[in-house]
Homo-oligomer: 269 residues x 4
Amino acid sequence: MRSMASSASNRGIAAIVGVGPKLGRSIARKFAHEGYTVAILARDLGRLSRFADEIAREEKAQVFAIRIDCSDSRSVREAFEGVLSLGFVEVLVYNAYHPVSWHPTNFTDIRIDSFEKSLAVSSVGAFHCAQQVLPGMVERGRGTILFSGCSASLNGIAGYSELCCGKFALRALSQCLATEFQPLGVHVAHVIIDGVVGPPRGGTSSTSSQMRTMTSVGEQVQVSGAGGDVDRFMDPDALAQTYWQLHLQDRTAWTQEIDLRSSTPTRFF
Amino acid sequence: MRSMASSASNRGIAAIVGVGPKLGRSIARKFAHEGYTVAILARDLGRLSRFADEIAREEKAQVFAIRIDCSDSRSVREAFEGVLSLGFVEVLVYNAYHPVSWHPTNFTDIRIDSFEKSLAVSSVGAFHCAQQVLPGMVERGRGTILFSGCSASLNGIAGYSELCCGKFALRALSQCLATEFQPLGVHVAHVIIDGVVGPPRGGTSSTSSQMRTMTSVGEQVQVSGAGGDVDRFMDPDALAQTYWQLHLQDRTAWTQEIDLRSSTPTRFF
Amino acid sequence: MRSMASSASNRGIAAIVGVGPKLGRSIARKFAHEGYTVAILARDLGRLSRFADEIAREEKAQVFAIRIDCSDSRSVREAFEGVLSLGFVEVLVYNAYHPVSWHPTNFTDIRIDSFEKSLAVSSVGAFHCAQQVLPGMVERGRGTILFSGCSASLNGIAGYSELCCGKFALRALSQCLATEFQPLGVHVAHVIIDGVVGPPRGGTSSTSSQMRTMTSVGEQVQVSGAGGDVDRFMDPDALAQTYWQLHLQDRTAWTQEIDLRSSTPTRFF
Amino acid sequence: MRSMASSASNRGIAAIVGVGPKLGRSIARKFAHEGYTVAILARDLGRLSRFADEIAREEKAQVFAIRIDCSDSRSVREAFEGVLSLGFVEVLVYNAYHPVSWHPTNFTDIRIDSFEKSLAVSSVGAFHCAQQVLPGMVERGRGTILFSGCSASLNGIAGYSELCCGKFALRALSQCLATEFQPLGVHVAHVIIDGVVGPPRGGTSSTSSQMRTMTSVGEQVQVSGAGGDVDRFMDPDALAQTYWQLHLQDRTAWTQEIDLRSSTPTRFF
């Protein structure tokens, strides 16, 4: 999709915050595949380093693993000192959430520090990461910030107040930043992932699966048409494809919000 | 509207959190007028005590002023020990917000501790107050929790990320609590106040103004029909009337969300 | 709630369009009870006349039954010639829908004339009725128009495209009229009734049941607190109470949209 | 983006309904460019034929111009007899609207037949076109239906009830069809175009401009970064790119709704 003529020097850094084995990893791989230097950030540095090695090797790209605890503002600041030292951060994907928040809990049993931590990861962390990269984006008049939401971003759900409050707040942040920074050249979008993300269907080598999502429609449908079950989980490589396309959008036709779900969805709630 | 025959012993406490000279005071006065023992809570205990005296005198009701700092969980707990010692808290109105958040700020100039504090007041405080009163409501199978939102609860606005993130999160909380607790008999509603609240139009003696909102429609319109300007600001006594009606709703016909605005609105944003 | 001093001459006509045995009848009875001359309109004139007689007798009010077919613009015009001849139409409640649209149908089996008829009743009829009464309301600078929606007003549902398209369009109409006419003194609100309306719980004599919704909260809860099943259906008298309160709202605090559902809801979909 | 290896025989027909000089033409050209046989439909057959010739010549594709009046069900049926005779309709884009509805009108001045016609074009026409193509899509277990909305799909606007009612209804239709047909393999999406579409920025030869939207981000921004004014209008080729990408989405990651707007928007309202 990118012109072969574009020199790498035009490219900045893509920073992906919240990288686990599914969506974050696929997004990182996609941007690496398209020629970006990628910084991946998460709490578990050991696992993160393995992802970085794997992506660097398979995509022949520069990938940096940097530890971050999004609930700790000092950790965010230090992590982004590292990211910003790599060059201009052209893309920020914020994909972090507080794991505990995916389990339903009686409201009166939720501990206040757990609630605070969930907000800290879902929205304060996003706020803080955005603050690190926006001055550089505004200076150059370009950049892309993509926030990952879910169905809990749109509707409150019994037993999920930790998740919902954080995700509603993140959506608010996305809208505020869009209205403030889009006229300055920074594209801000909120991606609602409505369903359960599974493993990439292409297997461990995601290059091939990524290629598959970019192949002809007729062919692709023949592959997936048979399997009912295989469609119940969202393919993270297919999701990453949409993140990439959002980044590429022309500035006269920017998306602020998009939803994504399977044709035969499985849901958490 | 209430039956004269209802004995005071059926009534619990109405706790109004976030009481300033406009909306909070009018809501407190309305519930006092209708026969409730009222606890009013805010940070400025001196002003709060003057409101309590005024309402107690004018409405011949019991009104308690209790200091609270909604951004401080210890303060919330201590304040509600006081409230709960008064009796069954049948009504909770959460009306608090972080004052600084009403001024627009360049996103990159917002300090992270200010952002955190805004979330703490708008949503963590609401979470914590709700936790204090819900066990009693569930035990009795009745109760009403009303959250005050605004247009920033629905749309992100450039320069207002502190306000919007907190208010989106509060709306999420309201929806989560409604889905979890309405089947248990607790009515949870979110009131979107879309505009600028002015002083009560009835003057300092709100009894008369409150009566005015309850008078016949034809008469009322003759009073306000002339003045364009007088309608630009929302009358807090009129708003309080809607809070009261939400509390009275039959349990087969409960509102989860309602908006309120002037016929000729003035807006902050 | 209304002042006893208000003379009947201040009152206009309340026109209720779409009156069956549940919601429409309860709304008509409520406005009659509060002193309005009421015009009730529906297709089945025989049944309508019995409702009119019953309400007139029980509420000691003037009630007129007028036949209307909301899908037929000539019928709407003729019906409102009748309504307008009674005096100033101060209140319009639009409650009509195409009955067939409540049954799920495979999309490809829906006949185009059925789809057109559903739109004609849900939205063209509402458009046309509003046009009949708005000039008089604008001239006097006051009036209330209330549209009845449902959960199909907010979300598309498999098998219900007839209902959803009409109800989405009706919601659009409500918003357009609110933005255009509220500054001119006409209150326009959209009421989302999210659930199944049952018979009035007060029995055939709705006066008593209406009184019950207006009694003290403590007492009311004792009555309904026991019965799970009785709360699954919405009490039309309780709904009518909210329609009435919307009409009474002060013009600095008007609702544009409100939802209503049971604490333990039963849904069609 | 499409694999060169995909044979034309896998491809069906792309039918674009509502083709004027901007968005419809760009979408038709994009699908032609990607190897589809394209049917373009609109009322003005003369203009349509010129577009068909131009696209066929420039994209070396088969393009058929077929007259349709979306407000007339017989015309829709006849037009689609023509379209379906070309082969399997794999893609339907519904882009038609009633031109008069883009001018603000006092509500009481809108003629009922104009209101009906607006609904007929915006939603009945869409309903009818979808009915023509869905049986074939369901039979093959694949297909894409894309509906064009605008900001009037989301909010009622004073003076625009004709437009808003039709566009709200169209959005309802889109949601109903998605819930019913996505499990059967048909992707249904609603595209909210929030702003004024201008001419393609690439000039008359849209091949080059289309290429430009697919070029590297860095380069693209240098081109458009200077001009404030040039970004006020949406580039129809950039919009068409998103329609194309929606069609290509993997069936585990389908979008139901997406918005598109300029970084520095111009709006009608």
